[in-house]
């Protein structure tokens, strides 16, 4: 499954964060993050649990609003031009967040429709992701009755159904068995150079295998940014995460 070969000729979207800060009450979860992710890049966002990875991607996709600072996708801000951003983004959450009472085909059709697809393009898009993620055999089954691995495929399919230039995946292999992890990684690898991918993970091997550049979040701050070799070889692996236990003031 997950054969390479992306339709369309786009090379991905550019993501830029400028002094991006997010607070929940008095707790600063992200503190002045500035970075740029270039089109076609596979960017790994590393950090321990609670480091701020999910908050960062939620700001990128426009689900949360920044407390201060700015983030843009191809120059569009989720705050002022959310539709332009949402048209460019596909998002796969950490845990499978799907409608268990819908059938796979119905859910993918719905995901495509709310992203603006209609008519023959809609049918083609649904068929394309059904085949690409090897879901044809289960397309009439209820999502809630699928195994975790299949649910993750459906998550990827719904995020990719509108063929977005930017794919944001949060811990995509969490809880999957080794074969399922391999399949997901193969899919993400197939996007290299053709789509921008933001990959949130605390799996260093996964980051090394999939990302061309990584950023390390520690307690809401960007502790390191650079190529995989620069960042991952510069410190002992556990040192990348250690300071994450500290709670910012």
């Amino acid at each position: 499954m997950y054969e390479a070969g992306i339709e369309g000729a786009r090379r991905g979207a550019r993501v830029e964060a400028m002094q991006l800060t997010r607070r929940f009450g008095t707790q600063v979860v992200l503190d002045g993050i500035s970075l740029a992710i270039e089109p076609g890049e596979s960017f790994g966002l590393l950090g321990a649990n609670g480091a701020g990875k999910t908050t960062f991607v939620r700001l990128v996709i426009g689900y949360l609003a920044p407390s201060s600072g700015r983030v843009t996708v191809d120059g569009f801000s989720p705050d002022t031009e959310p539709r332009a951003v949402h048209a460019r983004v596909g998002y796969v959450a950490e845990t499978s967040r799907l409608y268990p009472d819908l059938r796979v085909h119905g859910l993918l059709r719905f995901a495509a429709q709310i992203r603006g697809l209609a008519g023959p393009a809609l049918d083609e898009a649904v068929e394309r992701v059904l085949q690409r993620f090897d879901l044809t055999a289960v397309s009439r089954r209820l999502v809630g009755n699928l195994s975790k691995g299949y649910q993750q495929r459906v998550s990827l399919a719904q995020a990719f159904v509108h063929d977005p230039p930017l794919l944001v995946v949060d811990e995509p292999t969490s809880g999957l068995d080794p074969l399922q992890q391999f399949e997901v990684r193969e899919f993400l690898r197939s996007l290299a150079g053709q789509r921008t991918v933001i990959l949130c993970t605390h799996d260093l091997l996964e980051a090394r295998a999939l990302a061309t550049r990584v950023g390390v979040l520690r307690a809401g701050k960007l502790a390191a940014l650079g190529s995989v070799d620069e960042v991952l070889d510069a410190a002992a692996p556990l040192d990348l995460f250690r300071a994450a236990k500290a709670v910012p003031a």
Partner: protein, 262 residues
């Protein structure tokens, strides 16, 4: 607009994909039937007493004015159906926004091309469609009462409009409560609380001034609904229910924004 229609279809598919929709429809049918036949039974007993020669009662045609199908069956049935809706409608609305938030599927909607207003519109329309189906089932008995009481179709139409207006207002209140919570129970309980409080402020009258009592009466649901039950369709009453729906939709819209900035 296609995306909104897709959202409406999804909402209905999710609703009918769970047992809740069928339970609520069955419950409404059962409650309406029980209320109707109970009132009819009491009415028949009253008729029997009054017309029984053995008890030295009234001759036919000399019954007291209040002993008729309209006053003994129809109007109490409408009144009780209105109260029953307060208990039933939040069961339908509690999950609409709260469940999305709890499951995390709200992210799929919020990061789509749907605007927050379109999300609210789609969910309101889907819920109103279900409430329409629910009321259509429950209108069988009021229809029978109206037709048998000789009140005529215009009266039935007025009652139907009143029931729909009341139900939509209650549904809108429930949806607004659901949009402000990620807990379905919390959403249902707050919807019950709001609906019960504004259903009838008559109990406050002894404790307030005449002016305040007049204002409270004007914003109560029940006095507005009674007019429809009596066969009177008033534009002011319709506008009142429409204002509740619009206010609740604005609150629900605000609820989606609150998630982004909380």
């Amino acid at each position: 607009m296609r995306a909104v229609c897709a959202l409406v279809r999804k909402e209905l598919a999710v609703l009918f994909g769970s047992p809740m929709a069928y339970l609520v429809l069955a419950f409404v049918g059962l409650v309406t039937a029980l209320l109707f036949f109970d009132h009819l039974r009491v009415y028949n007993q009253i008729l029997f007493v009054y017309t029984s020669s053995a008890s030295g009662g009234f001759e036919l045609g000399t019954l007291p004015e209040r002993v008729n199908l309209e006053d003994q069956v129809f109007l109490p049935l409408m009144e009780q159906l209105g109260v029953a809706l307060i208990g039933i409608v939040p069961l339908v609305t509690m999950r609409v926004f709260a469940e999305e938030r709890a499951r995390g599927t709200e992210e799929i909607l919020v990061t789509s091309l749907l605007t927050p207003s379109q999300i609210v519109l789609g969910k309101f329309v889907a819920t109103f469609l279900f409430v329409t189906l629910m009321l259509t089932c429950s209108l069988v008995y009021p229809a029978a009462a109206v037709l048998r009481a000789g009140l005529g179709l215009p009266h039935l139409a007025a009652v139907a409009i009143g029931l729909f207006a009341l139900s939509f207002a209650l549904a809108a209140i429930g949806l607004a409560c659901s949009a402000l919570s990620s807990n379905q129970i919390m959403a249902a309980v707050s919807a019950y609380a709001v609906a019960f409080v504004i259903y009838d402020f008559g109990w406050l009258e002894p404790f307030t001034s005449a002016g305040a009592a007049k204002v409270l009466d004007a914003i109560s649901l029940q006095p507005r609904f009674v007019g429809f039950a009596e066969g009177i369709v008033s534009l002011a009453d319709l506008l009142y229910f429409a204002a509740i729906v619009a206010t609740a939709a604005a609150v629900a819209r605000l609820g989606l924004d609150v998630v982004r900035v909380r």
